[in-house]
Amino acid sequence: MLYIPGNNPAMLQQGSVYGADGLLLDLEDAVALNQKDAARTLVSHMLKYISYEGCEVTVRVNHIDTPFGLEDLKQIVPLQPNAIRLPKVETLDEIERIINVIEQIEDECGLPHDVMNVHVMIETALGVQNVYDIAKYSSRIDAISIGGQDLAADMQLVKANDGVGIDYARKQIVMAAKACKIDVFDTVYVDVENEDGLREEAEYIKKLGFTGKAIINPRQIEVVNEVFTPTDLEIRKAAKIVKAFERNKAEGIGVFAVDGKMVDAPVVQRALRVLEMADVDVESL
């Protein structure tokens, strides 16, 4: 998921070509306070004009309690991007209030409530404490994510980049997302020049269970994709497991062995997930 500053025409018009799975058109932190109106208008016009084919488009609006949040929703919700990303959500009341506003706007425009998804960002200690309640509030919420920079600030962490301080929050948020069976995205890696650091962090958060990672520069796409795309070896292994499972299922066997390792239902599920991520058909292998 590639962040694109909402007031940058050059990046907005080219966002879809870099191979990111999703674009985050940003009206919030990437836009200067005195350009919020310009960014909102620019993103609105771009959404109408540019075909972002092949990319999920999400617009990150400003928080509803800022002077810009409501106007952002009024202009963006009618355009129904794939999702709206809500920053700094902290409590159940808050998410309830915002989704009500969104649905009111949709009603006024005669739009359904079940097309555009809602992404919630957890960026404060209070938000981390309430994350499960927030995430399960609405079926429209199909992803949550952690905003590492803001959370570190809220936690008054001096050194944030090593990820130690937000580690608990990451795990808590992953758990909440898994409990709600929705996607969960990690925060950005700010040092664009440090490819190895990015790879290390991406590998770590993949192990924690994150679905993906937000990035701030197209140059980061390749590394993150490499980490999250199953390798040929992983794919072949998964295909072997799935095929063996299907053979055994026909004979009514639930637990069996592949290459000397026990395979049961959870292993099969993980193998299926690998094939899904790799976007391959088991029959073709």
Partner: protein, 96 residues
């Protein structure tokens, strides 16, 4: 739309356009100063788009100074809308 104050939107960045709006006395007409790095290829299209925009907002008297760095049509529309709304004090932004 009634223009009250000077305003601008956009930037000199590549693929952007900087539009400055200045209210003028009624009857002065549309005074448009257009500079573009793609003048030869898209000058006519740009003028038409700007005039269509002014028609839409029902503005007949205005001075516009436009410096285009190869912006696509949606960027032109967006910057014009922002500059005009700022000039009409419908929204706040900046006049740097």
């Amino acid at each position: 739309m009634k223009l009250i104050t000077k305003a601008q939107a956009g930037s000199f960045e590549s693929s952007d356009v900087l539009i400055m709006v200045e209210p003028v006395v009624e009857g002065a007409g549309r005074i448009i100063e257009l500079k573009s790095i793609v003048m030869q290829q898209f000058g006519d299209d740009l003028l038409k788009q700007i005039n269509d925009g002014l028609d839409f907002y029902e503005i007949n008297d205005v001075r516009l100074i436009i410096n285009d760095k190869g912006a696509l049509p949606p960027t032109i529309s967006a910057r014009l809308e922002t500059a005009l709304k700022r000039a009409a004090q419908l929204q706040t932004g900046t006049l740097k």
